[in-house]
């Protein structure tokens, strides 16, 4: 099989595993949906203003909950899966075959892309049907681009972070704390219009806030000087992906850490 065919082959099985896993479904899809319904209901008549921009509550939370879904699927769930597969010997067993790492990693990335796009479609439909969020046609293309870039970057980050986590037991709690803190300072839960400007500026150089702003620009271009595609924000996200990829190449191991 060619490498491309092998990536597709791997992704077919990885996707089956993802959609059969109740924990993965609940963590990645259910949580953002419930939160969007909650925040949408609470903030539907509210607007947030910061840095000279005003954004409606619904537009704000649609973009943030998509980021939450991407983070859950491509970062948290990916890390939990990788640590569990590494410690159970499943990764080592796959590496004991002629399969090239690019096929295994490619399968993971495609699985994450398909799942984050699925999550985004569900969230977009809820935003549209329940809260009247109107995304222009170009906006949908911009959301898709941000999803592809953001998901690949966070997947890459998952491969870079996994070597730091030595056991399945410690992974869950550590990830919960890290992603909640990261989510809070990136304005996923409370609107970051209430944050001091320095915190917003600092969070701009972490991976989640620029992804949120790129999605927000797609939903409501007025928040990005009328530009639907926020290349600068996507550039920051992509830079995280590239840097993480280099760390992963250096640090990632396929064999269980306990010997």
């Amino acid at each position: 099989m060619s490498t491309a065919a092998l990536v597709i082959h791997q992704a077919r099985y990885d996707l089956r595993v993802f959609f059969r896993d109740p924990r993965a479904r609940a963590a990645t899809l259910l949580v953002p949906v419930v939160m969007l319904v909650f925040f949408g209901a609470v903030f539907r008549h509210t607007s947030f203003t910061f840095g000279g921009t005003t954004v409606s509550g619904n537009d704000y939370y649609l973009s943030r909950m998509i980021v939450l879904g991407v983070t859950s699927a491509a970062l948290s769930n990916m890390i939990i899966t990788l640590v569990a597969e590494r410690e159970s010997g499943a990764l080592k067993r796959r590496r004991a075959t002629p399969v090239r790492p690019i096929a295994l990693i490619g399968g993971d990335v495609i699985t994450c892309e398909v799942s984050t796009i699925t999550i985004a479609i569900v969230l977009w439909l809820i935003g549209w049907l329940a809260f009247g969020v109107h995304v222009p046609g170009a906006g949908l293309a911009a959301i898709l681009l941000a999803l592809v870039v953001g998901t690949a970057a966070l997947c890459s980050l998952a491969y870079a972070i996994t070597p730091l986590l030595k056991s399945v037991d410690s992974t869950g709690p550590v990830l919960t704390i890290v992603t909640i803190v990261l989510g809070i300072i990136s304005g996923l839960y409370a609107p970051d219009s209430v944050f001091p400007a320095w915190l917003r500026d600092a969070a701009l150089f972490l991976p989640l806030r620029p992804l949120a702003l790129a999605l927000q620009a797609a939903v409501s271009p007025a928040t990005n000087h009328g530009h639907t595609f926020a290349w600068d924000y996507l550039g920051i996200v992509a830079a995280w992906g590239v840097a993480a990829c280099l760390v992963a190449v250096w640090k990632f191991t396929w064999s269980p850490t306990r010997q």
């Binding site: 099989m1 092998l6 082959h9 791997q10 099985y13 089956r16 595993v17 059969r20 896993d21 159970s88 010997g89 499943a90 080592k92 067993r93 796959r94 004991a96 075959t97 002629p98 399969v99 090239r100 096929a103 064999s255 269980p256 010997q259």
Partner: protein
């Protein structure tokens, strides 16, 4: 250079079907079953002066051995003997400190995808792909190889026909281990590494697993078996290597390893009614009678002793229904060889 190259050996080592091998133990190689012409001429595995150090600790201290094509080699040793390190070096998962290693004609440290496709690995610990079915799991792995065996054939070989649509996490421990073997077989490898394949099995699951390994022999596969169980080595292996503290302490067939064939047998029986040690005929070795009537004779050469006792019993019409001759078990030999290192 030439001194360390594996040289094609015209005759198989003892135990690989030659002298000392048991009947029915000949490797079932047939033309066409071994791929890769270059290595078919030499040994499947050849190791010369292998050393591995972790910092100042030397886990493997210069070992040499070979494994012939079609042979089942059991690699035994206490924990910490260097078994896992050696196995991982052979599998290409670990770099070595020194020595020459050739596995199917290639250095495992540099084995590429083609080489990987010719070996199968059953790891000591590996959980199944829990959310896939048995068939899906095998199909996924089949895709990794250029020339995989048909999935149904591998299901037959490993006795998993009835479980094709079961999810992997619903299999019993024994079935999961069969799936591990099936995943190692799907690429039609020439050489299979089995790392403690039956640890944690109940006796019936172990015997079923042994049948699978015997099936590998019939397919002409070379098997490198790591195990803690002496009966497993005795039942399956053509040849055994015992490792202790990083060195090979014994190598041979299950019957002859550690001079097993020359170690004294123990003859025991209950003395017939009214007889004492003094009633026995003259014997070449001393007799001990314990608990009043239990005779025990340690005999390096058991036949003259048995002949003397049976003649005596026939002459006086004595019944000795419980006479037994016990050979030292492989476990006895193993414990003796490794006692200083355990």
């Amino acid at each position: 250079m030439t001194a360390i190259e594996p040289s094609p050996s015209p005759s198989p080592p003892a135990g690989a079907g030659g002298e000392g091998g048991r009947s029915g133990r000949e490797p079932a190689l047939s033309p066409g079953q071994v791929r890769g012409g270059a290595s078919a001429a030499g040994q499947a595995i050849s190791v010369r002066g292998l050393r591995m150090s972790y910092g100042s600790y030397e886990a493997v201290r210069g070992i040499d051995f070979e494994v012939a094509h079609g042979e089942i080699l059991a690699f035994l040793g206490p924990n910490g003997a260097g078994k896992t390190t050696t196995t991982e070096i052979l599998e290409g998962f670990r770099r070595r400190t020194a020595g020459e290693v050739s596995v199917l004609g290639a250095d495992p440290g540099r084995g590429g995808a083609d080489w990987r496709g010719r070996i199968g690995v059953v790891l000591q610990t590996s959980a199944p792909e829990r959310l896939l079915t048995v068939r899906e799991c095998l199909s996924m792995y089949a895709g990794y190889y250029q020339r995989p065996l048909p999935v149904d054939r591998v299901l037959d070989l490993t006795g998993l026909q009835g479980k094709t649509d079961s999810r992997c996490d619903q299999l019993s421990g024994g079935q999961q281990r069969r799936l591990d073997v099936a995943l190692a077989l799907i690429g039609d490898p020439e050489l299979i590494f089995l790392d403690e394949p039956t640890t944690g099995f109940d006796p019936s699951a172990r015997h079923m697993a042994w049948d699978v390994v015997r099936g590998l022999r019939d397919l002409g596969k070379t098997v490198f078996l790591t195990t803690h169980f002496m009966d497993e080595a005795e039942n399956l292996a053509d040849r055994i290597i015992i490792l202790a503290a990083g060195r090979i302490v014994a190598e041979g067939t299950p019957e002859t390893i550690g001079g097993r064939q020359a170690v004294a047998s123990v003859i025991t029986f209950t003395m017939p009614q009214g007889m004492t040690a003094g009633s026995l005929p003259p014997l070449p070795v001393p007799v001990t009678v314990a608990r009043g009537d239990r005779a025990e004779i340690t005999a390096p050469e058991p036949m003259p002793v048995l002949y003397a006792i049976s003649s005596w019993a026939m002459q006086y019409s004595l019944a000795i229904p419980d006479i037994s001759v016990q050979r030292p078990t492989l476990e006895d030999i193993y414990l003796r060889l490794t006692e200083d290192h355990a």
